[in-house]
């Protein structure tokens, strides 16, 4: 059941009690989020149903296509900054021709998925948390459960599938835009010809960089949806609760993206 009764525990008496309460609450929240993920994955077997397919496509457009504009701007400028910063230093040694490789590898391995993850957490994650929270407050989730419609299958699964597909694609797109942005800076500011820039970029990057970056983005997509749905479903206290759920979703998604990103890099490159 997604609809939960408010549980009451007497307030802790001292600081040890407060720490204990915090540890228990955090552990319980993490456990519930994992269970939500497991249930959503189990519901993927229904994804080919007509209504689910339509909803998945709708979420792909809402979460993915509508984020293209902001991702284009952020990724292009990220590539431009990377090229400028590394190019200025490398020019001191006469090696500015190598900025193509530096930008390409940085974008594929780290900056592409990382920037895409942050943008989607702030835009799509917060929107999902606010929507779920409002649905809890206006008793729409309770109504679904009473109609024996599983909210995880009806709401979470389509968003999970949509974001698991769209985040890697958007990450790849942001890498392309970053490399293009870096190339423009290389040509106009550092005097690196376009052909030399691209030649360098493709020589240094490996298939592994692309796949690890896409894998990271895939994980980020899942993290964003599960964090948003978990906090949205846990909303209490009306409009204030919706605001809190949205804020917590953005903060925790950012933290999880950073931490998971580090461990994936360590797993594949150390």
């Amino acid at each position: 059941m997604i609809t939960r009764e408010p549980r009451y525990f007497p307030p802790p008496q001292d600081w040890r009690g407060q720490i204990g309460r915090q540890v228990l609450t955090t552990t319980r929240d993490a456990g519930r989020a994992m269970l939500l993920l497991a249930e959503a994955v189990w519901c993927i077997r229904h994804m080919m149903a007509r209504r689910s397919r339509q909803e998945i496509l709708k979420q792909m457009v809402a979460g993915g296509i509508k984020s293209l504009g902001v991702i284009t701007v952020v990724a292009t400028f990220t590539g431009m900054i990377l090229a400028l910063q590394t190019g200025i230093e490398m020019r001191r040694f006469g090696q500015e021709v190598y900025i193509g490789g530096a930008v390409m590898v940085s974008m594929l391995r780290e900056m592409g998925p990382f920037m895409t993850g942050l943008i989607l957490a702030a835009s799509v994650g917060s929107a999902i948390a606010a929507q779920m929270g409002t649905m809890v407050v206006s008793e729409e989730i309770a109504a679904l459960e009473l109609m024996s419609i599983n909210p995880v299958r009806f709401l979470v699964m389509p968003r999970l599938v949509a974001m698991a597909v769209m985040t890697p694609l958007l990450s790849f797109y942001s890498c392309i835009m970053g490399v293009v942005g870096g190339g423009v800076v290389g040509m106009t500011q550092l005097g690196v010809p376009w052909s030399a820039y691209i030649d360098n970029a493709t020589r240094f990057a490996e298939n592994k960089d692309l796949f690890v970056g896409m894998f990271k983005a895939f994980l980020f997509g899942i993290i964003i949806v599960i964090t948003a749905c978990h906090h949205g479903f846990g909303t209490t206290q009306g409009a204030v609760g919706v605001g809190n759920a949205t804020r917590r979703t953005v903060i925790l998604s950012f933290l999880a993206i950073l931490i998971v990103g580090y461990f994936v890099t360590r797993l594949f490159y150390v």
């Binding site: 408010p6 008793e139 109504a143 459960e145 109609m147």
Partner: protein, 253 residues
């Protein structure tokens, strides 16, 4: 049909229901009244196991719903249609799609059959012309009527109404009351209505239960209810300007 046996429920550390025992009979309309914060909606939520009692049990049709889970709970919940306070309509679906939702998700009916059922039910609540509108385009009273059409579209045995007339003008309130009455007369369903509107309660209820201080202060037919000697009931009647003989008698079913 529904039986509460010694149900106690604590919320925020204080008892909201305190050993409540009563029964809803098949085919009747039981109206639960009482001041705000006395556990009326909590009582309703126990009937469909959106809440679980801390003590005691709730039975539906001889089965203990307060301990049911999984498919058994789903099967028991299928007996119910619930009209929520704000209608609880999904905002991104049209009126027609909202009413069709349980049919599309739970039955194997063809699209033609679903459309027919939706039209019939919307006609019943007088909204057949608003099938393509979104919830944001209709009034509060209309939202409740759409919620009612959705609640009855799967032909439930029991309908629960949570504050069906709150926030509505007197004319819309009367329309909702008439709809609740017609549900019982035409469909023969058992109804439980939670409200603090005594005028409405007296005109639609087969019996009226008054909740106060976490217990049932009075449970009687309308005529006996207004004659109650309980102090809480007298106060509640007086607060809504209802005298022992009055206007309400003309509206009694």
């Amino acid at each position: 049909m529904i039986r509460f046996e010694n149900v106690t429920k604590f919320l925020g550390g204080r008892p909201v229901l305190n050993g409540v025992t009563f029964e809803v009979r098949k085919g009747e309309t039981l109206v639960v009244v009482g001041p705000s914060g006395t556990g009326k909606s909590v009582t309703l939520k126990h009937m469909v196991r959106l809440m679980t009692p801390d003590e005691g049990r709730v039975m539906v049709g001889g089965e203990v719903i307060s301990e049911a889970a999984g498919e058994r709970l789903e099967r028991l919940r299928e007996k119910f249609g619930v009209l929520f306070q704000g209608g609880a309509l999904l905002e991104w679906l049209t009126v027609g799609e909202n009413v069709a939702l349980p049919l599309r998700e739970k039955t194997d009916l063809s699209e033609e059959e679903i459309e027919e059922r939706v039209t019939v039910n919307l006609k019943l609540v007088g909204l057949e012309g608003d099938i393509d509108k979104y919830p944001s385009e209709i009034s509060g009273g209309m939202r409740k009527r759409v919620g009612l059409a959705r609640a009855i579209v799967c032909k439930p045995e029991i309908i629960l109404y949570d504050e069906p007339t709150s926030g509505l003008d007197p004319v819309s309130s009367r329309t909702i009351d008439q709809l609740i009455d017609s549900m019982r007369n035409e469909l023969g369903v058992t109804s439980v209505v939670v409200t603090h509107d005594l005028h409405s309660a007296l005109s639609i209820g087969s019996r009226i239960a008054m909740l106060t201080g976490g217990r049932i202060a009075e449970l009687a037919e309308p005529a006996a209810f207004v004659q109650s000697s309980q102090e809480e009931v007298k106060l509640f009647l007086e607060s809504q300007f209802i005298t022992r003989r009055g206007e309400w008698e003309r509206n009694m079913p």
